[in-house]
């Protein structure tokens, strides 16, 4: 991914050496939302209307995972022609919520299991006439010992 890539959606994640998802936290009850929410707190016991942006933890554990063996329909924009399958993971974060994401390039379902640790990275999702568009992805955290085995 080139450094000029722009996020595929504004305000949902930061870029740079330690990228993170950006959520919003209700100033009244502290419930965290991702994608970042505004307006009214969705906790039925809270009447909060003020939110602050917060970066979410960069590491979480895999709730479950799969892949897309066939090219998804539009508005999905394929990154390559012919289509290259990619993996997907739902990841539980310490903030108490689970967030979907594609899995980092080069990793597949064989590299994942429920409960495994992953870390957020930012990679290119697709390239269009405006240039490269980036997205958050989940990358398996390889333990030191395992790395030595590979």
């Amino acid at each position: 991914m080139s450094v000029t890539a722009t996020p595929a959606i504004d305000g949902w994640f930061t870029t740079g050496p330690e990228p993170a998802l950006v959520g919003s936290r209700c100033a009244t009850c502290t419930t965290v939302y991702f994608p970042p929410a505004g307006g009214f707190c969705r906790n039925p016991a809270c009447s909060g209307e003020e939110f602050e942006r917060v970066e979410l933890s960069r590491r979480g554990t895999v709730w479950s995972y799969t892949d897309a063996q066939y090219q998804p329909p539009a508005p999905y924009v394929p990154a390559a022609d012919p289509y290259v399958p990619f993996a997907l993971a739902a990841v539980s974060l310490p903030e108490g919520l689970t967030v979907l994401g594609q899995v980092a390039e080069g990793y597949g379902v064989g590299d994942l299991r429920v409960g495994a640790e992953v870390e957020l990275v930012v990679e290119t999702l697709y390239t269009d006439e405006t240039g490269e568009r980036s997205i958050w992805r989940w990358k398996p955290v390889v333990e030191m010992g395992e790395e030595a085995d590979q």
Partner: protein, 397 residues
């Protein structure tokens, strides 16, 4: 008989398939079949509730009126419901509410659809505030990918295998063999399922339901009307659950990109899917041990196993054991999807929850030829629609 029950006097369906006809034609076919089944004249119907279809233009958005006009305007009141896959349950709930309030007496509930081939994709246009659009654009997250997440969890947490999932398909294919409304009536082997292409790991093509054309209709009346017409012994609806989730919804739901956070509030007492059946049981005054037969939404084979547990027909992680012992097959302790389920039908969204009610009505009457669950007196359906729509109906006789 509870004062909150309504009678199901007639049910009817148009066979599921890919027929290439307008949805109205299927709907009217099913409606006329339900009226004929009940022996009730169309002119006696004082309420029509249509299940909306979102892929058939304006006529689909106002489905109730569209069906009423096609059957011949008779001055009936009209309503149209939309709750994604749960549309049928919401439509029946609307009919029941007016009947129990004494505002209507004879209600015809109709759902019909014409469905495109392949993955269900969102409506056209750029919609950066619509999760159903964003999930495709940002993640390439299709419906089968969500089903696959649930399937994989069963494998990693409970030791489910691809053979277990395939066995659900084998069972349902066998159940549906004699069902004249089913689209697929052919035996399938475990090897067939495992030999079909992987769509979203671990699910194969034959683990995932197709999309179909189809229509179903249910004629619902007050129990007084049924008694006056000598039909006091008819099947009755004892409970309908159209509950929404309770915050925080902590299980990943299609088409969302995330769950709610439980950090500030703690976990809810039940997951959304477990709360759907729970509410239906509560309303009907029956429990899981009373259930003789269940029709659950097997969008994928593995999802049938989730539903069996969410309906409390067994404990968490025990559905594979039930399946392997043949307990969910007709003749077993708790037959699931005797109709053949979505595995044999393919999904026709606004008709599907009504089709579940049609099947249980036939089962409770003892009319499910070639697939009868002997002596069934209590049945339950389960289903969930996008964006927080619960759907569960308890039928008794």
């Amino acid at each position: 008989m509870s004062a909150r029950e309504v009678a199901v006097l007639g049910v009817g369906m148009h066979p599921w398939g890919k027929w290439g006809k307008p949805f109205v034609e299927y709907g009217v076919h099913a409606a006329r079949a339900a009226l004929a089944d009940a022996g009730v004249a169309w002119t006696d119907v004082d309420l029509v509730v249509g299940g909306e279809t979102v892929r058939n233009g304006y006529g689909g958005y106002v489905a109730g009126a569209t069906f009423a006009q096609a059957l011949g305007w008779n001055g009936a009141r009209v309503a149209t419901s939309y709750a994604a896959c749960a549309t049928g349950a919401q439509a029946i709930d609307t009919a029941r509410a007016r009947i129990l309030a004494g505002l209507s007496e004879v209600a015809l509930v109709v759902g019909a659809d014409t469905t495109p081939k392949g993955f269900l994709a969102p409506n056209a246009g750029e919609r950066w505030d619509d999760p159903d659009w964003l999930r495709f654009r940002l993640l390439g997250m299709t419906n089968p990918a969500y089903f696959a997440l649930y399937a994989r969890r069963r494998m990693d947490l409970y030791g489910a295998t691809s053979e277990d999932f395939a066995q659900v398909k084998v069972k349902n294919a066998k159940h549906g063999l004699a069902n004249p409304y089913a689209r697929y009536r052919k035996e399938v082997s475990v090897a067939d399922v495992l030999g079909s292409a992987v769509v979203s790991d671990p699910l194969h093509l034959l683990d995932i339901c197709a999309t179909s054309d189809g229509a179903a209709a249910v004629l619902v009346t007050s129990t007084e009307y049924a008694a006056r017409h000598g039909l006091a012994d008819s099947v009755r609806i004892a409970g309908i659950s159209t509950v929404t989730p309770t915050f925080p919804n902590t299980v990943m739901d299609m088409p969302n990109l995330s769950t709610d956070s439980s950090l500030a509030t703690g976990e809810p007492e039940r997951t959304f899917k477990a709360s759907i059946g729970h509410a239906a049981y509560e309303e009907a005054g029956v429990g899981p041990a009373d259930v003789d037969v269940a029709e659950v939404y097997d969008l994928s084979t593995a999802l049938e196993l989730d539903w069996i547990e969410d309906l409390a027909l067994c404990g968490a992680g025990e559905a594979e054991k039930l399946l392997r012992a043949g307990e969910t097959t007709i003749g077993g302790r708790i037959p699931v999807n005797p109709s053949g389920g979505l595995a044999c039908f393919g999904e026709a969204v606004p008709a599907q929850a009504l089709a579940q009610v049609c099947e249980l009505t036939w089962q409770l009457r003892g009319q499910a030829e070639g697939r009868q669950v002997e002596g069934a007196r209590v049945g339950i359906t389960a289903n969930q629609g996008l964006f927080g729509h619960g759907s569960s109906v308890v039928l008794v006789r």
